[in-house]
């Protein structure tokens, strides 16, 4: 058993101090973003700075909604990310089920192909991808983005889901088949409910990846109306006079959905922390 780390032992003290520093370094920038986004203009540039707004205001948010296309970008982000999740999960769930439940020629080769493409970085395929998208004639459409995200999320989704399916005993399915269920019913009523936590976690990862993406939008989208949040906010930031209050309020609104989803899947990440991630 581990020795108890009470607040009064030297060991306990050291751990608490280190944990506090870790917490401040990671969380303080977020706090500063939230604090800035509620400050009126004159408080943003005051020296010495106020840690909390004295006259908290929603003026920054009002400017963001009225003077920029933030809401259009928001809608685009929601649409593109959701579609990417729907396609990726439909394709990857079927694929991962096949990889764990069927034996066929080339199965192991396909698994290594997936692991290999898992390592591709966006910058390596972005140039040929762009040239090809241009050739097909779907540059500057949401379809191009959805294709890019689906392609990019497939390898890791397949890999994660494969591990989740592997953890579900075959016996359960066989029992359902013996009881007279069709294979399809066995999957829908026995396997999918058991795999659901894994499917949700993978879906959220896909969503966050699509939501956070910058580079594909920057390259594939040219119309302002089709831009998503990350490029939209980056362009606001590149304006000649930077409205820090407005930018911070936008940054906060982009981050909230990610953090909400993240809190949902946290326990999977933390469970993996000690044991060396999901077992393959």
């Amino acid at each position: 058993m581990r020795p108890k780390n009470t607040f009064f032992s030297l060991r306990g003290q050291t751990i608490y101090w280190c944990a506090a520093i870790l917490l401040i370094v990671t969380a303080f920038p977020f706090f500063w973003m939230v604090s800035t986004s509620f400050k009126p203009l004159r408080e943003i540039f005051v020296s010495p700075p106020y840690f909390l707004p004295k006259d908290a205001t929603l003026a920054n948010f009002a400017r963001l909604f009225e003077q920029t296309r933030f809401l259009i970008y928001f809608r685009n982000s929601v649409f593109v990310s959701t579609m990417a999740v729907v396609f990726t999960m439909a394709i990857a769930t079927a694929g991962a089920y096949s990889l764990t439940r069927y034996r066929f020629y080339g199965r192991e080769k396909i698994a290594s192909l997936i692991l290999f493409t898992y390592m591709f970085a966006p910058i390596m395929i972005i140039i040929p991808f762009y040239v090809l998208i241009k050739k097909i004639g779907i540059a500057n459409t949401h379809l191009a983005l959805i294709m890019a995200y689906t392609a990019f999320c497939l390898p890791f989704s397949l890999w994660l889901l494969r591990a989740f399916f592997q953890s579900i005993p075959l016996v359960l399915e066989e029992a359902a088949l013996v009881d007279g269920a069709t294979r399809f019913r066995a999957v829908v009523h026995v396997i999918l409910p058991l795999a659901l936590p894994g499917i949700i976690a993978t879906a959220i990862f896909t969503f966050i990846l699509a939501w956070n993406d910058y580079i594909f939008v920057r390259i594939l989208i040219t119309s302002d109306n089709l831009k998503t949040l990350s490029v939209g906010i980056a362009d606001l930031h590149n304006a000649t006079v930077i409205d820090w209050g407005m930018i911070m309020s936008g940054g906060m609104l982009i981050t909230i959905p990610v953090l909400v989803f993240f809190i949902f899947i946290q326990r999977y990440l933390i469970a993996g922390w000690g044991t060396g991630a999901v077992k393959g």
């Binding site: 394709i91 066929f104 689906t150 930031h237």
Partner: protein, 233 residues
């Protein structure tokens, strides 16, 4: 299992294999192909030039600078990430009250959009009104405000941000936007991006991507050779 069920298995995996091949493997191979051409990013015409793009880069000082900045950036970021990561993991492995809360919060920076991380740190590191400069001045570590986005410190800023958010590739590119010191942190991906989308040299851009891919494959191979036994991949 029966032959018919084999067929079902293949049908179920087919869409995944098709998409991975069409949208990931094919573009990479097409990129290798393009790297032997002189090709404009917009217009369709292309001309076979053999190894000319590669030879051009070997003689291009901008390429060697990018390679140097990229290596410097990657090595410093990775070393810091490993050191800090191991210390953090050791602390978070200990039993203390509120551990789960800290574990969750520590992962926040990793999840947020890179764009948000960049604007957030640009605000914190702002030379006139940034909190960091204010604190450093107040404590007396510096006497004049540091220009964090200027040419002397932009690499340091980049490394701080990357370590904080446990890095994604876009970080470099996004930090370069709207600043004069861009060329002091121009790494290979940024260089490739600029060649393709600002100078419209898709062939040359592809050549750079192939070189990066080669570097990645080489380092991954070393990694697998070193760790294959232990992890049983």
């Amino acid at each position: 299992m029966k032959v018919s069920s084999q067929k079902t298995g293949i049908i179920l995996i087919a869409p995944s294999v098709f998409l991975i091949c069409a949208l990931l493997v094919y573009p990479v191979l097409y990129g290798v192909w393009l790297s032997f051409f002189k090709k404009h990013s917009f217009f369709p015409e292309q001309r076979f030039v053999g190894l000319a793009n590669y030879l051009y880069l070997l003689r291009d000082s901008e390429f060697w600078m990018s390679l140097w900045y990229g290596t410097y950036y990657s090595v410093s970021t990775i070393v810091l990430q490993i050191v800090i990561g191991v210390i953090a993991a050791l602390i978070l492995n200990e039993a203390f009250r509120g551990r789960n809360f800290v574990r969750g919060v520590v992962l926040f920076p990793y999840m947020i959009p890179t764009v948000v991380a960049i604007i957030l740190w640009k605000w914190l590191l702002n030379d006139q009104f940034g909190l960091i400069n204010y604190l450093l001045l107040a404590v007396g570590i510096i006497e004049d405000p540091l220009s964090w986005m200027g040419k002397d410190h932009i690499m340091t800023s980049l490394i701080i941000i990357s370590v904080w958010e446990f890095t994604k590739f876009d970080t470099v590119w996004l930090l370069t936007q709207g600043g004069g010191a861009e060329k002091y942190i121009r790494t290979l991906p940024v260089f490739a991006y600029m060649r393709t989308f600002m100078y419209y040299q898709a062939g040359l851009g592809s050549t750079l991507a192939v070189i990066m891919f080669g570097i990645l494959i080489a380092s991954t191979t070393v990694y697998f050779k070193m760790f294959r036994r232990e992890e049983g991949i």
